[in-house]
């Protein structure tokens, strides 16, 4: 095998290992009876989005803006279903006023954010919202849990599920760029 082929297979193996936690995360959500997946299309959530689209037993709903998902999650909860909102960190800014509904109604709420404007970011446009995600969400009573390492994804999201759906909290899990990698610019 040539050096180039070796290098290519090493890259593929590395990518598979990196994506592995995403499949485990989908299984975790399904084991915990999540049946509504709402998202604005995002590279960081590709596996969760594709898995939900391929799963006949769940609703996989593409949104035009993230705030739609906040309201949808509240409606799901009223009807006794569990939902999760998937978004990029910039979407947190789009959600702010509708999080009044989650806070005021004390709705259990889980959102997973893939971070931009974070560790290693090269796009200056992403920086302001990257810095604002945590203070903005915390100001709207959403507790933020950061994940930097693949082996922490499942334990942290498990904890978030418990905090949200037993503890009655609104929880955001931030999948950082240390975990998902920074997009090259």
């Amino acid at each position: 095998m040539s050096a180039a082929v070796h290098a290519e297979s090493r890259v593929k193996a590395k990518e598979a290992a990196r994506a592995g936690w995403q499949y485990e995360l989908y299984d975790l959500l399904r084991r915990n009876n999540f049946t509504q997946f709402a998202y604005v299309p995002d590279a960081g959530h590709t596996v969760l989005i594709n898995e939900s689209l391929a799963d006949a037993e769940v609703e996989s709903i593409a949104l035009t803006t993230e705030e739609e998902g906040v309201a949808m999650m509240a409606g799901a909860e009223l009807g006794g279903a569990r939902g999760v909102l998937l978004m990029q960190s910039s979407g947190a800014g789009n959600c702010v006023n509708l999080l009044s509904l989650i806070a005021g109604g004390r709705f259990p709420f889980l959102t997973l954010l893939s971070m931009r404007g974070d560790f290693g970011e090269g796009n200056p446009w992403q920086m302001p919202m990257g810095r604002a995600v945590e203070p903005v969400l915390e100001a709207m009573s959403v507790r933020c849990l950061r994940v930097d390492r693949p082996e922490d994804v499942v334990p942290v999201v498990s904890a978030a599920i418990t905090m949200a759906f037993q503890g009655g909290e609104a929880v955001a899990v931030l999948l950082t760029q240390k975990l998902i990698g920074a997009k090259a610019f």
Binding site: T64, E67, E77, G80, G105
Partner: protein, 210 residues
């Protein structure tokens, strides 16, 4: 009471003739078969007065723009029930992209009713886009919602009533009403209390086998 901004605007007045205090109950008819979400301000009062502040309606007092998508989440969670999301024109304009999201999914048990008075009633009856040329039914059609209807007169209400009950696709109804006040009704304003009682009523119904 027609507000000052509309005086000398006969074209406007002709298109907006129904009184919401009569038109909303007439459109819905027997309300017990439905679950309701209502947008803030006007429609929350229309709907909570209709069900006498009962647990089958979740009315918003803020979070403007949330009603349609709460309706979607609820309709997907409860395919066995018909969900009506009421919203005003201002409420819907704030989150008009939700019609596209709903059109794509086409949930058969969701109905959106926009009570369109062409104004922002809650903030002093400033004119909204709908009385200035924007047609939300056309936006709903363009968003892929298959069953749509505009109601402007009392004679058209029975058709709307039937559509709420009989469609196998998602429905959008635009009901034009005069820019006059909704019922003066004191509803429970605590959003957590409303959530708990809504869920408890659904759980009771499930226990009763309904």
């Amino acid at each position: 009471m027609i507000m000052k901004a509309n005086v000398g605007n006969p074209e406007f007045d002709e298109r907006y003739v129904l009184d919401r205090r009569e038109a909303v109950p007439a459109l819905v008819g027997g309300h017990k078969e439905f679950l309701f979400i209502a947008g803030l301000a006007g429609t929350a009062r229309d709907v909570t007065s209709l069900v006498n502040d009962g647990p089958s309606a979740y009315g918003l007092g803020g979070a403007m723009g949330a009603a349609t998508m709460m309706g979607l989440g609820l309709a997907l969670a409860r395919p066995d029930r018909t969900v009506i999301a009421f919203c005003g024109d201002g409420e819907l304009l704030m989150n008009v992209g939700s019609l596209a999201t709903i059109g794509v999914r086409n949930p058969p048990n969701l109905r959106i009713v926009c009570v369109d008075n062409g104004h922002y009633g809650e903030t002093g009856y400033q004119r909204s886009h709908t009385s200035l040329g924007v047609d939300l039914e056309k936006i709903a059609v363009g968003s892929g919602i298959r069953r749509t209807l505009t109601i402007g007169t009392a004679a058209e209400l029975p058709k709307g009533s039937k559509l709420l009950r009989e469609s196998e696709d998602a429905v959008f109804i635009l009901m034009r009403v005069k820019p006059t006040d909704p019922p003066k009704f004191k509803r429970t304003l605590d959003p957590a209390v409303c959530r708990v009682r809504f869920k408890a009523a659904l759980a009771d119904a499930a226990r009763a086998g309904g």
